[in-house]
């Protein structure tokens, strides 16, 4: 893994609240190689969505404070570059977004076609420098518009939406949730990005279409060699489409591994407990309910020192309570932060 597409190092950020600073991320790291489908998993509240939003540059205005770390995309630190240039050149172009809730992520008062063509007007890969117009007066050259429209129709076919021209004329509320998420996938891929950030893209959908949507994401990512960051609390989704998985706990990364190693040989006690908590048939000896890890996720206002998992960990020792473990490499692409990993016998 010499050349990383995305390299988040030690990202630390918090929100000011009435009861003090809530550290949502505290030294979180994440690495994605070009074309890699990376799953970012963890219980709700562990900071995965905040990490995704930090990369996208859309943390809640006013409240969020970044205290340290870096987000390097192709070697450019997104936190230190001019935000206007990042928004113009990278956001929506090299890095795109599939939101969690396709129901509320479309603007309700404009047609789907209007919104897609607005996106293409600004973010089409065919767009070359077009002068410095004020945003509202920016012209849309006719030839490019025609080419962009072709690309849109092609892409709608690629995400298996029937009758694309009719869909473009509809308002968002007139199409189903599954169709809306296919449209979101299409919009994420149309600018021909290098990285798509998919934030829990299936949780708002019907169980029956979740697998279809994940399949579409996986197929198109492979075909177009696009890297994907998929945040999910559902290990099953990660298993289905990811190349590798990074596990987060209480605002920190704890383990990162290729998909096979992750499921076959999880080393961090939290990861193993997470996998054990998967619903299984009782005769296999698994717990019947999800989230069966004793203890509670610590509050972001009062995080424990050392390894954050130590109050819930049966292997914890004195060392675990004092200093956060350094990152160690177990195998190629398998990294870990733990003093007492479960190693394969």
């Amino acid at each position: 893994m010499s050349e990383l597409l995305l390299d988040v190092e030690n990202l630390t950020l918090g929100f000011r609240t009435e009861r003090g600073l809530a550290r949502i991320l505290d030294g979180a790291s994440l690495r994605i190689a070009p074309g890699q489908v990376m799953g970012l998993v963890g219980e709700s509240g562990c900071g995965k969505t905040t990490l995704a939003r930090a990369i996208l540059g859309v943390l809640p205005a006013g409240g969020a404070r970044i205290d340290g770390g870096s987000i390097a995309f192709r070697g450019r630190d997104l936190l230190r570059e001019d935000p206007a240039i990042v928004a113009r050149d990278l956001r929506g172009r090299a890095i795109t977004f599939i939101p969690q809730d396709p129901f509320s992520s479309f603007n309700p008062v404009f047609t789907i076609g209007d919104q897609m063509m607005d996106l293409m007007k600004w973010k089409s890969p065919r767009r070359k420098g077009e002068g410095r117009w004020p945003a509202l007066l920016q012209p849309y050259p006719r030839a490019r518009r025609r080419a962009d429209m072709e690309a849109v129709l092609e892409m709608l076919a690629a995400v298996q939406l029937p009758n694309p021209r009719a869909i473009l004329r509809k308002y968002p509320h007139e199409v189903s949730g599954g169709q809306r998420q296919r449209l979101m996938i299409a919009m994420a891929l149309l600018p021909e990005p290098d990285l798509v950030i998919a934030d829990e893209p299936t949780t708002a959908l019907d169980v029956t279409i979740q697998a279809q949507i994940l399949g579409v994401i996986r197929r198109l990512a492979t075909e177009r060699r696009v890297a994907v960051l998929l945040t999910t609390h559902d290990l099953g989704s990660a298993w289905e489409i990811c190349d590798a998985v990074t596990v987060m706990y209480a605002g920190q990364d704890v383990e990162s591994a290729p998909i096979d190693a992750f499921f076959a040989a999880p080393a961090h006690p939290y990861t193993t407990r997470l996998l054990e908590s998967l619903p299984r048939a009782p005769e296999e000896g698994g717990a019947a309910d999800v989230g069966g890890i004793p203890g509670e996720v610590p509050s972001p206002l009062a995080q424990p020192a050392g390894c954050r998992f130590h109050p819930r960990c049966d292997r914890a020792t004195e060392a675990c309570r004092v200093v956060r473990p350094e990152e160690t490499q177990l195998a190629a692409g398998h990294r870990l932060r733990c003093y007492h990993p479960r190693l394969p016998a």
């Binding site: 859309v58 977004f97 603007n107 008062v109 404009f110 973010k123 509202l136 509320h173």
Partner: protein
């Protein structure tokens, strides 16, 4: 067509509302007073005159019969004769309507031009000095008695500085009446001198009326924008790097204005109420000034005629706003 259905149902609702309005004015004029005829006859009428008038107007008949007769007269457009002008009241109100419409339109335009940008800026710079200052201005705008503001503006700009006329609608005869709205008429006939005069005359009353309306519009726009900027679709549009100006003035504003537009009906009520006193102060020859003249002259039937007209205009404006709402919000046909 669901939209058509919606519009038709609103139109249908107009009928009972107008009937209800008629019943209310009937109650006010025929049932509330101990002797309604004495009020109609005026303060100087003798007992014989009152008795004669009672028979003539049919006040000796039972109430339901009177109500029926009342509605028959209304349907014929007969509201009686104005004591002030000796003209039929309905006719008088009809000739005065364009002046009031012109003034309220001017005020709505002015109020929107001030209120919408203020509301947007206030929401985007929430809790900044601008936001706090605007909050003071909007709360004040709603608290200022418009008749007092009118007098102060007259004192300042007409009497002291002398840059605006004290009152009236135009100097001289004005443009050839086509619509009755002088600004529109002088524009249509390219009569620039009349246009200038009309604009100078409408300035102070329109500003007086627009101030509370602008405050209302700014408040609703601010609330609407605040609700919209935290929405998932704005998050999505920002995450996709769309230009800020496009997100604010196209995507956010269009959504925020849906709630503002529904408030225009309410704002129109504010304007119509304000118009009664503001027209009186500026001698603006509209419905409100007529109402005030009629009050002063104790012309009861003219006041009732005004009530009916003002109510009907208000109801119709709200109907138009409802229909407009279904047109600008694609979700409303769901």
């Amino acid at each position: 067509m669901k939209r058509l259905e919606l519009i038709l149902s609103r139109l249908l609702w107009l009928v009972p509302t107008l009937i209800g309005l008629g019943v209310i004015t009937f109650l006010i004029s025929h049932v509330i007073p101990t002797d309604p005829v004495a009020i109609l006859a005026g303060e100087n009428a003798t007992a014989e005159q009152i008795a004669a008038l009672r028979r003539e107007l049919g006040f000796d008949r039972p109430l339901p019969v009177q109500l029926l007769a009342y509605f028959q007269d209304l349907l014929r457009g007969d509201m009686g004769v104005s004591l002030f002008s000796q003209q039929p009241i309905a006719e008088e109100l009809a000739t005065r309507l364009p002046a009031t419409l012109e003034l309220t339109f001017a005020a709505v335009l002015l109020a929107s031009a001030i209120g919408i940008p203020l509301g947007v800026v206030s929401a985007l710079r929430r809790n900044s000095a601008i936001d706090h200052a605007l909050r003071v201005v909007t709360v004040s705008g709603l608290a200022i008695p418009s008749f007092w503001l009118a007098i102060q503006l007259q004192y300042l700009f007409a009497m002291k500085v002398g840059i605006a006329p004290l009152n009236g609608r135009i100097d001289g005869f004005g443009p050839e009446p086509l619509t009755g709205m002088m600004i529109l008429d002088s524009l249509l006939q390219a009569d620039w001198e009349s246009l200038g005069g009309a604009l100078r005359h409408i300035a102070l009353p329109a500003i007086t009326l627009a101030l509370p309306a602008a405050a209302t519009i700014a408040r609703f726009t601010r609330a609407g924008v605040l609700e919209v900027v935290t929405s998932n679709y704005v998050l999505y549009e920002c995450a996709m790097g769309l230009p800020g100006a496009l997100v604010t003035w196209k995507y956010v504003l269009r959504n925020a204005l849906i709630s503002t537009v529904t408030q225009i009906g309410l704002i129109f009520g504010v304007l119509l109420s304000g118009a009664v006193v503001v027209e009186a102060v500026f001698d603006w020859p509209g419905l409100g000034a007529f109402a005030v003249i009629s009050i002063i002259q104790s012309d009861h039937r003219a006041v009732m005629g005004f009530t009916l007209w003002a109510g009907a205009i208000f109801v119709i404006v709200n109907l138009i706003v409802d229909v407009l709402h279904t047109l600008i919000d694609p979700r409303s046909t769901r």
